[in-house]
């Protein structure tokens, strides 16, 4: 059965006025009397939709416009043009009702009271989101166990490590069981253990509660592990939309075959391949996927040489995305 769209965005546009000033004392003094403003198109005619229960990765380099889009989706910013329907609400017009149904985690901004234990903030959010005693206690117990923060929930936030604090931030954002969870760089600066805990947590609430997740991150391993689909934005425009596999199909044009030989192969000759390194017993062969299939090259290798081992690998998703950013930068 086709899942319903929970977010619908059509023709979204947002521009900002930016104040510009040259370097040096003269420019500084000049700017006191006369200022130069530049209009920046942060988001240009963007359209997309998100299905219920989906985990969408919203990616882009710094300044690409992803945070602006997220802020419009969460009702923080007013769009200049276009239409957004999230859970059938126009986020900026019906902000108070709408935000009751969403949760937001900003990796770089804490929503917890710094001097108080996280549990005090949770109690405040209980009132704010009108969570019943039963649901509050049940969810809190479940999440404390899942994120393994039993001992830290009663320690003042300023005494917590970044990993502990981030886990506490997550609880504050999902206690009310939001239908959509917006995550803005949720694993920034975390060690691998904390990252793992948070990823498991996201997967679990997505699977068990059907929470739709919109994730913006620069950590591609978050994307590979969590996202069903990704959108890449640059200079305010979408430059890719699809699954990780579709990204690979579109952008991966070579695969690498690492070959180990039983006997010295001598000079290696393979058509439509680049042999970029070889020594007496091994070689790295790059296959141009537009011209040849990997299995054909493997067959040719086995036919021509005595092979002891073979490893096929492709370009990492991180590298592909980096290449897409660079290509967009050149345009």
């Amino acid at each position: 059965m086709q899942k319903e769209n929970i977010i619908e965005v059509r023709g979204l546009k947002k521009t900002f006025k930016k104040y510009e000033r040259g370097a040096g004392l003269k420019s500084a003094l000049k700017s006191v009397f006369k200022r130069k403003y530049k209009t920046v198109e942060a988001v240009k005619d963007i359209s997309f939709s998100v299905k219920k229960g989906e985990i969408l990765g919203y990616l882009g380099p710094n300044g690409a416009g992803k945070s602006t889009v997220i802020k419009m989706l969460t009702g923080v910013l007013y769009p200049e043009k276009g239409e957004i329907r999230c859970l059938n609400y126009a986020p900026w017009d019906e902000r108070e009702k709408y935000v009751k149904n969403i949760g937001v985690v900003f990796g770089q901004k804490s929503s917890l009271w710094w001097e108080l234990p996280p549990v005090d903030t949770y109690k405040l959010y209980k009132e704010m989101y009108e969570i019943s005693d039963y649901k509050f206690n049940k969810n809190l117990k479940y999440m404390i166990k899942l994120l393994d923060i039993k001992d830290v929930s009663k320690t003042p936030v300023l005494k917590l490590s970044l990993g502990q604090r981030m886990r506490c931030e997550f609880i504050s954002s999902v206690l009310h069981e939001p239908k959509i969870l917006f995550l803005d760089e949720p694993t920034i600066g975390l060690d691998i253990f904390a990252k793992e805990k948070i990823r498991q947590f996201i997967k679990k609430i997505n699977r068990e509660k059907g929470t739709t997740v919109i994730l913006t991150t620069h950590d591609i391993s978050d994307v590979e592990e969590l996202c069903d689909r990704i959108i890449i934005i640059d200079k305010g425009e979408h430059i890719f939309e699809g699954t990780i596999q579709e990204l690979k199909n579109k952008y991966v044009c070579e695969k690498k075959i690492y070959v180990e030989f039983d006997e010295k192969p001598g000079r290696i000759k393979l058509s439509d391949c680049r042999v970029i390194r070889y020594d007496a017993w091994s070689a790295d062969v790059f296959v141009d996927l537009k011209k040849r299939k990997v299995k054909e090259v493997v067959s040719e290798l086995f036919r021509k040489y005595y092979i002891s081992d073979i490893t096929i690998s492709e370009e990492s998703v991180e590298n592909i995305i980096k290449r897409i950013y660079l290509e967009a930068e050149k345009k």
């Binding site: 802020k71 007013y78 109690k123 405040l124 704010m128």
Partner: protein
């Protein structure tokens, strides 16, 4: 409206304010110290002046005015404009706008919570010292009740004025200097530094058309018996009109400011 989600801020902000023990201790010391200084100044002025009444006040009334103006300045003050400037600058306004509440109500209840600590700890100590050392006294139950009502309206008025003035923070990078400027002007024009009654009549008449005197001068003058009953009722009514007007100005200003908020880089 779901008032419980806002009143919860009183509790959390109270806990927050008493978690800074040094701040609480500093206030317990600072308020009586300020009272001692103000009373000493007025004692000196009355001692070197032949007139028994200065600016409609006897020496006893002026001492009481000074004690209440110091305590009132602390209890009624709130930093909602500075707080707004801070969260716009560090990007935390975004955190506020993703919550299912109205920011101005959150700030109002947070101010109440923060002042609760002062109200239950610092104010009684200061009043007790005022009674013991300077003969601070209550004049009349009716005037006391009316001044309590007037002080409550002052609290609202100061809060709303700060919220309106704080909207400047949406337009400037650093609001703090505007905040200090505003605090200085408000302290002076509200009678927080010197009773407005000692100024020339023209100045006093001009002040009648501005909201500042209703922030501190009006409730204190009611308390010390500086107005007759009819004047008290009239001034409380004027205070209420200012509160309602400022509420609508603040609501409109906030709506426009948030609509044009860009949040770039935050």
């Amino acid at each position: 409206m779901g008032i419980k989600k806002y009143t919860a801020y009183i509790g959390i902000e109270f806990k927050h304010s008493i978690s800074h023990r040094s701040l609480l201790i500093a206030k317990i010391v600072a308020i009586p110290l300020s009272i001692f200084v103000m009373v000493a100044i007025w004692n000196a002025i009355y001692l070197n002046n032949d007139a028994e009444i200065i600016g409609y006040f006897t020496k006893e009334q002026m001492v009481n005015y000074s004690i209440l103006s110091v305590i009132g300045s602390y209890l009624l003050a709130n930093r909602s404009d500075m707080e707004l400037g801070r969260i716009i600058r560090n990007g935390k306004l975004t955190n506020e706008l993703i919550r299912p509440n109205q920011y101005y109500l959150v700030q109002f209840f947070k101010s109440l919570g923060f002042r609760t600590a002062d109200f239950v700890v610092a104010a009684p100590i200061s009043i007790a010292l005022g009674v013991i050392f300077f003969g601070f006294k209550q004049y009349d139950y009716v005037f006391t009740l009316m001044s309590v009502l007037s002080f409550s309206l002052s609290f609202l008025l100061i809060f709303l004025f700060n919220m309106i003035f704080g909207l400047i923070a949406f337009k400037v990078i650093d609001y703090d200097n505007f905040g200090w400027l505003k605090n200085t002007l408000v302290s002076f024009f509200s009678g927080g530094i010197i009773s407005l009654s000692v100024f020339p009549l023209f100045f006093q008449n001009t002040m009648m058309f501005l909201p500042f005197q209703h922030m501190l001068y009006t409730p204190i003058r009611i308390f010390v018996g500086g107005y007759v009953l009819e004047q008290c009722i009239l001034f409380i009514f004027v205070q209420a009109i200012w509160v309602v007007s400022m509420f609508f100005i603040m609501k409109f200003g906030w709506k426009m400011a948030v609509k044009n908020f860009s949040g770039v880089g935050t």
